[in-house]
């Protein structure tokens, strides 16, 4: 089986003179569940924006030999790079099935768009099973619970046939049980996808991250396993100030990381 990977080199994003991302190198392999952390303003979401076409950037970001920078959002999506947003952005007026079917359809032939959907497509069926939304297929997405909306977004990424998945704070606002289910879902998904998760939730990170990249002030501060990163004094410093025990430490400051 072919190994896919995302390769970012010297990525730089600036707005009106303010440099949000300053020369980031990042390589993520398939099967590696990568978490991207860092304090507010570190440039995490901007990095995702740049790679998915939302923010103009210089440098290079390639996937499958294709240069992503400079392409339009929909072209990048078609090249196999998908993303979710911090606030679940599903189509509230459409049903779960319709949401997934649209996500699955970008490569459909134009003419087939003019017909109504016949049977439920296999990939959509599979995605509903993977995300546990099968029973809700005719429910308008606007009526779903918060966690279910996030799962629907992930499901949309799956049927979209994206190989690189960027998830922006997927478990924010979820209950403990929903977090656990999301984590399991991500583990299932990472086997044949390149998965990058932007997340602040350290418990979640510790439980599910294969590797972690720490961003600070637009640059990569540290990279490695959770334990390696946690032990890095520079990471401890930017997160909790001098003398603390690193991002995983228990206590009231823990949530302040958000």
């Amino acid at each position: 089986m072919r190994e896919d990977y995302l390769e970012i080199r010297g990525l730089r994003v600036s707005f009106d003179g303010f440099v949000a991302v300053d020369g980031v190198d990042l390589t993520v392999l398939q099967g590696d569940l990568r978490f991207l952390i860092g304090p507010n303003g570190a440039g995490k979401t901007t990095l995702v924006d740049a790679v998915t076409g939302l923010a103009p950037a210089t440098g290079s970001a390639t996937f499958d030999g294709i240069q992503l920078l400079g392409k339009k959002e929909h072209q990048i999506a078609r090249a196999g790079v998908g993303r979710t947003f911090q606030t679940a952005s599903v189509f509230d007026q459409l049903t779960v099935l319709q949401n997934l079917d649209i996500a699955a359809g970008a490569r459909r032939r134009r003419r087939s768009l003019l017909r109504a959907r016949g049977a439920v497509p296999g990939s959509v069926q599979l995605a509903m099973e993977t995300t546990g939304l099968t029973g809700l297929q005719d429910r308008p997405a606007g009526e779903l619970a918060h966690g279910q909306k996030q799962w629907l977004e992930i499901g949309m990424l799956l049927v979209q046939n994206a190989t690189v998945l960027f998830l922006d704070e997927p478990v924010a606002g979820m209950s403990a049980e929903e977090r656990r289910q999301t984590g399991e879902l991500l583990r299932r998904v990472r086997r044949d996808h390149v998965v990058v998760v932007v997340e602040h939730d350290m418990e979640f990170l510790r439980a599910y991250a294969d590797s972690v990249t720490v961003l600070a002030a637009g640059t990569v501060l540290a990279e490695g396993t959770y334990a390696q990163v946690q032990a890095d004094p520079r990471v401890q410093e930017i997160y909790l100030g001098p003398g603390s025990q690193g991002p995983g430490s228990q206590g009231p400051r823990h949530q302040a990381v958000r």
């Binding site: 995490k44 923010a55 339009k72 952005s89 079917d101 649209i102």
Partner: protein, 381 residues
């Protein structure tokens, strides 16, 4: 599966009822004068069907449909004038001595005239649509531009006294593709054509709405930015609906000409363009039948009232806009549902969808310091 069957049965019976009323009951019950009036309303309703698709399903507030209505109408009028004048003849209103404009000659042939009625507005809508949608000009910007285009078109027509009759427009048509317009039988035929075309348009929109394209169009309406990240170009999705709406308006205009007997700039400017919207809003913009029924009802109310007190109708028209759009954005059809508080019907109202957001607000996601740049490209209206 059973639900689908039940659905298609009720759809079929719906079309049957419409056909019986339009083809059976109306011609029998109405006087020739009233039937002609109804035919005129049907033409206006064609514009409304297109607006229902573009605005109701697609969220594009087309404030300038008079442009396309006028294009269709004037091309038809030019053709009728030329066929009245006979081969190599010229219409009476033109100043003698000046030559026939070259673009008149294009529409002398009945086939090119019919083709032109469809192709000219379609091409213009394609160009305009791609121009604005590609650059992500949407919402209020789009509405204002389309309104300005109708205004400019009307002014252009007024200035062309010698080629399209200026503010008087074109009138006094004697025949319609060889059929004398003075013959009541032919007038009746025109009515039947209008009724048939309208039903076909509703059926076309029906198919578009239930197709995957229709779902995609709604998705673009409610989350244009999100659709991009699924690998679609929203500009192409929107432009199709816009072109369909333009062609429907043009066909409505083309049939309006022989039925009413005159077309002038006052039928195509800013005021009539917004006028097309009232019926759509009243009937329910996001529904299949709302635009048609609303448009017919408003046309009927308008002609009945202005026969008596014209100023009263203008006040009422204004009031309708205010009341329906402000307090009943789902249209009259949602009134019962709104009273009963049923969630589903209210859910059909696109009033609070993303496309209607205020300018400058990021459409994709919430703020946060490192998010500010996202608004740079997605935030504009």
């Amino acid at each position: 599966m059973t639900r689908r069957w039940a659905g298609s049965a009720s759809v079929l019976s719906g079309y049957l009822v419409a056909a019986v009323i339009l083809f059976g009951a109306a011609p029998v019950l109405l006087s020739d004068f009233r039937l002609r009036l109804l035919a005129q309303f049907l033409c206006v309703a064609m514009v409304a069907v297109g607006i229902g698709l573009a605005w109701g399903s697609g969220g594009m507030l087309t404030l300038g449909q008079g442009l396309f209505f006028g294009l269709g109408a004037y091309i038809m009028a030019i053709h009728l004038q030329l066929s009245d004048a006979g081969p190599a003849g010229r219409p009476a209103f033109m100043v003698t001595g000046s030559g026939l404009p070259w673009w008149w000659e294009l529409f002398r042939n009945p086939v090119t005239a019919v083709l032109g009625i469809i192709a000219v507005p379609a091409l213009l809508a394609l160009l305009l649509g791609l121009g604005v949608f590609r650059r992500r000009v949407k919402g209020a910007y789009f509405a204002i531009l389309s309104q300005a285009s109708a205004a400019a078109f009307a002014l252009l027509l007024i200035s062309q006294q010698n080629t399209v009759g200026g503010s008087n427009g074109l009138s006094n048509f004697r025949q319609f593709f060889g059929f004398a317009l003075s013959d009541p039988v032919n007038r009746r035929m025109l009515y039947f054509i209008a009724a048939g075309v309208l039903i076909a348009m509703v059926a076309a929109v029906h198919q578009l709405r239930r197709s995957r394209y229709g779902e995609l169009l709604t998705a673009v309406r409610d989350g244009e930015e999100r659709v991009r990240f699924l690998g679609y170009d929203p500009a192409l999705v929107k432009v199709l609906a816009y072109v369909v709406a333009a062609v429907f308006a043009a066909v409505g205009g083309a049939l309006f000409v022989p039925i009413v007997g005159i077309i002038s700039p006052s039928n195509v400017g800013v005021v009539p363009s917004i006028g097309f919207l009232i019926g759509v809003a009243v009937g329910g913009r996001a529904t299949l039948l709302g635009p048609v029924l609303g448009s017919l009802a408003v046309s009927y109310a308008g002609s009945t009232l202005s026969e008596n007190v014209e100023s009263l109708w203008i006040y009422l028209q204004g009031l309708l806009f205010v009341l329906v759009v402000a307090f009943l954005p789902g249209g009259i059809g949602s009134l019962g549902a709104a009273l009963r508080g049923r969630r589903r019907a209210v859910g059909d109202v696109p009033g609070r969808s993303a496309g209607h957001g205020p300018p400058g607000r990021p459409l994709v996601d919430g703020g946060g310091p490192e998010r500010a740049p996202a608004g740079a490209r997605s935030g504009g209206v």
